[in-house]
């Protein structure tokens, strides 16, 4: 049952060293405020799951939080490389990063299977791709009806999923609108979940078939206005595309990156770090 906590408390209580952690959000609603709090609390040795690592995981990897990354597309969307991710993979800086790599279709199915309580996801995927050669988690099953060989991958089952959403009502039910990505699946697939929201309202005023997470499917809710910036929150604020472009320069150099993180994440208070 969702508890309303401060962001500091929510992360302290639910994200532990060595955990498998997913911060999800497909371009939209990326939980930057929560990720920055994880960095400030100096979590170590995390296995990070995320379809599109994006700037937030570049920051977490560059700050040494992660030992493993499970992902399907690791770039700065529309801009280019994630330099901290590349530095970790190519030069093992600041530490060696093990990677386990999927396609989007497979990762989306792995979230769906995790939410559905299944051990595996089945898809018509990876045909002719070299990815199964480098990822031992890509296996196959034979369809007992048609004999067709289909790809199978393990369901995503993180210890904790962290997402950002538009709003919660006072009972702790959460509304997600717009590009909803895999957030519902990622929360339901996890043992624990932390949701940051723009605001708490009396009523969600949601359409009957809107994407709503009930309070009893969530561990903790923290109010974090602007908590998705520099990504965006549909209905609240737009994406800071300029910052995504600037990040390319900031992250290219180890020292520039470190200084930026000190100035904008490490030495700021919770909630004003974006």
């Amino acid at each position: 049952m969702a508890e309303f906590l401060s962001l500091h408390e929510a992360i302290a209580r639910h994200v532990h060293d060595g955990d498998t952690v997913a911060l999800e959000g497909f371009t939209h609603l990326i939980p930057f405020a929560a990720g920055h709090e994880i960095i400030r609390q100096k979590r170590q040795n995390l296995t990070l799951i995320r379809m599109t690592p994006d700037l937030l995981y570049d920051q977490m990897i560059g700050m040494g939080c992660a030992s493993k990354l499970i992902f399907s597309w690791g770039g700065n969307p529309g801009v280019g490389s994630l330099h901290r991710l590349r530095d970790a993979v190519e030069k093992h800086y600041p530490a060696k990063l093990e990677i386990l790599e999927h396609s989007h279709a497979a990762m989306a199915c792995a979230w769906e299977a995790g939410a559905a309580g299944l051990p595996l996801a089945v898809l018509r995927g990876y045909i002719g791709s070299d990815l199964p050669r480098v990822n031992q988690d890509i296996r196959h099953i034979d369809c007992p009806f048609t004999g067709e060989r289909l790809a199978a991958i393990p369901a995503n089952r993180p210890d904790v999923t962290v997402i950002h959403a538009q709003k919660a009502d006072r009972a702790g039910n959460v509304l997600i609108e717009g590009i909803i990505g895999v957030q519902k699946e990622a929360v339901l697939a996890a043992r624990r979940s932390v949701v940051t929201v723009e605001e708490v309202v009396d009523s969600l005023e949601a359409h009957p078939n809107a994407c709503v997470l009930p309070a009893w499917a969530i561990s903790a809710i923290a109010v974090a206005p602007g908590g998705a910036a520099p990504s965006y929150t549909h209905g609240y604020y737009g994406r800071r595309n300029d910052f995504y472009k600037q990040w390319d320069t900031i992250a290219r150099d180890r020292d520039t990156f470190r200084q930026w993180m000190e100035d904008h994440v490490m030495n700021v208070e919770e909630g004003v770090s974006a």
């Binding site: 497909f26 371009t27 939209h28 379809m51 599109t52 992902f71 399907s72 597309w73 690791g74 770039g75 969307p77 529309g78 490389s81 994630l82 991710l85 590349r86 993979v89 190519e90 790599e101 999927h102 396609s103 989007h104 279709a105 497979a106 989306a108 199915c109 979230w111 769906e112 898809l123 018509r124 995927g125 990876y126 045909i127 002719g128 791709s129 070299d130 990815l131 480098v134 048609t146 004999g147 067709e148 060989r149 717009g178 590009i179 909803i180 990505g181 895999v182 699946e185 965006y232 929150t233 549909h234 209905g235 609240y236 604020y237 737009g238 994406r239 800071r240 595309n241 300029d242 995504y244």
Partner: protein, 279 residues
Amino acid sequence: MSDMPPVHDSTTARDYTATEMMTVTASRALTNGTTCFVGIGLPSEAANLARLTHAPDTVLIYESGTLQTRPDVLPLSIGDGELCDTALSTVSVPEMFRYWLQGGRVDVGFLGTAQIDRYANLNTTLIGDYREPKVRLPGGGGAPEIATNSREVFVMIKHSPRAFVEEVDFITSLGFGRDGRARDDLHPETARHTGRGPTLVITDLCLMRPDPDTHELVVTSIHPGVTREQIVDATGWPVRFVDAPEATPEPSGHEVSTLRELKARTERHHSGHHEEKSA
């Protein structure tokens, strides 16, 4: 799907760049009414140009879950708010890949790539060895299944020897495999759900299509002002030409001006903060 539709405004553009030539040519490859799963970057530019010119009813799908979207400006990312605001409907990402792509609803998968080889295999994973890469690229994203679940695939990529290689370091997304035969011996049930693969490669120099027998990419049309030598020099394998390559038609003035307006609108939109409400 890949036949060139007639150009409605036949006034040839007075000046245009090689990249504009590529984008306009790619846009012309999309027939009106086509359902197109769009990759970010060059394909997104071409697909939206098609929608704004000869193919207003082209259905654009982005992997962020936005179905039948009509962005007024080009998205910087695959999940820009603009895509959702102008979509018929926005579904979850698992639904997008399961029901719409794997479900067989996509006519054309429109992809960019970092490397492409003789048999149209695509590499967006890395240069060098997998465990100790020289250059780590972003990875597969939606491409591995777009490449096999769409009825056919169009690829857009600028011509250079680094991009057009004899054999890709890593097959992220299947063209026709290392021997050109990978789509020939699939299980019948798999074959029934697998598309024809890359049927058209659009570069800034020419058009290439797979040879009907061997599936090797061959030059079928040469852009205005481009020489065979330029294409040979920019291709990392001994590239072949069909017997009588076509001359790619020049872009029209309307197409070039529509493209430039789209890019200028996009530039204005993406500069500066956008703190206003996105909905």
